[in-house]
């Protein structure tokens, strides 16, 4: 097993364990911190896949901005494990069984798919570099990029309108 394989398995296990801890943690602040671990693991996967731009954007936007927003809201509301509303035990079991069944169905459907010689190549190819992404973004995806700015403007207006004291 080369270094890449070792890193792949390490990051996968880290992502899965952290994702389970996000769901299991009683304290919302701990959930946020575990979610940041998931984002770091996924960024590591992006770097392994040679998508450096997405790795950095993932860290800056998700682990940086969005998670700080979550932490800010949680601390603003003064939430902790005692105020956590609890669901009925049977509803929890039903939720886990439903998620597990979805996993079972998807894995069973994809297990025998013929993907033996389809490789996601690692450490090669330069489509993930910022130059190529930028050239494509500003040539082929110009209109969606501009529409994105309208989306952000409407999000700003919406957040202000919803959040203001009436």
């Amino acid at each position: 097993m080369g270094t890449t394989q070792v890193l792949f398995w390490f990051l996968s296990v880290l992502a899965l364990i952290s994702a389970i801890m996000v769901v299991v943690s009683k304290n919302p602040v701990h959930s946020v911190l575990w979610l940041i671990f998931v984002f770091f693991a996924i960024s590591g996967h992006y770097i392994l896949l040679n998508a450096q731009f997405l790795a950095i954007v993932n860290l800056i936007v998700y682990a940086g901005a969005i998670m700080v927003l979550f932490l800010f809201v949680i601390m603003l509301m003064n939430l902790n494990a005692d105020t956590e509303p609890q669901k009925n035990k049977w509803l929890k079991i039903a939720g886990v069984v439903a998620g597990g069944s979805l996993l079972l169905v998807l894995v069973a459907a994809l297990k025998h798919a013929d993907m033996k010689n389809q490789l996601a190549d690692m450490g090669s190819g330069d489509i993930g570099l910022i130059r190529n992404l930028g050239l494509t973004l500003f040539n082929d995806y110009m209109i969606p990029f501009e529409i994105t700015s309208v989306l952000f403007l409407s999000a700003i207006v919406g957040a202000v309108v919803i959040g203001k004291k009436d």
């Binding site: 979550f70 509303p85 033996k116």
Partner: protein, 109 residues
């Protein structure tokens, strides 16, 4: 790495997110589980983009770049969604002093 490892990893992350949405009642945790599902899909998109690139690099040096741009746009939409969603949660907390989603089961008061 064979593509099926990435598929199974993403499916597992997505299903953990689904279970979280179904089992938790804290609105913020539900939101974080939605982010988890978005990230699982992003990882799968990048893996598929590299797979496509690996298969077609000889004919088209930019093959598969669309997948990574879609990931970029998903991140943009997720950022907008989180800002509006957290504003809604703050407003809900201000009105009910709780972030239990069961308080929202009837659209009155």
């Amino acid at each position: 790495m064979p593509i099926n490892y990435y598929i199974f990893l993403s499916v597992a992350l997505f299903c953990i997110g689904v279970s979280g949405v179904l089992t938790r009642r804290n609105a913020i945790i539900i939101f974080m589980c939605v982010e988890l599902m978005l990230n699982a899909v992003n990882l799968l998109l990048v893996a598929f983009s590299k797979m496509h690139h690996h298969a077609q690099a000889a004919t088209n040096p930019n093959a598969g770049i669309d997948g990574q741009l879609f990931v970029f746009f998903i991140m943009v939409v997720a950022a907008a969604e989180v800002s509006v969603g957290l504003a809604i949660i703050v407003m809900m907390y201000r009105n009910t002093h709780s972030i239990d989603v069961n308080f929202l089961n009837r659209l009155k008061n």
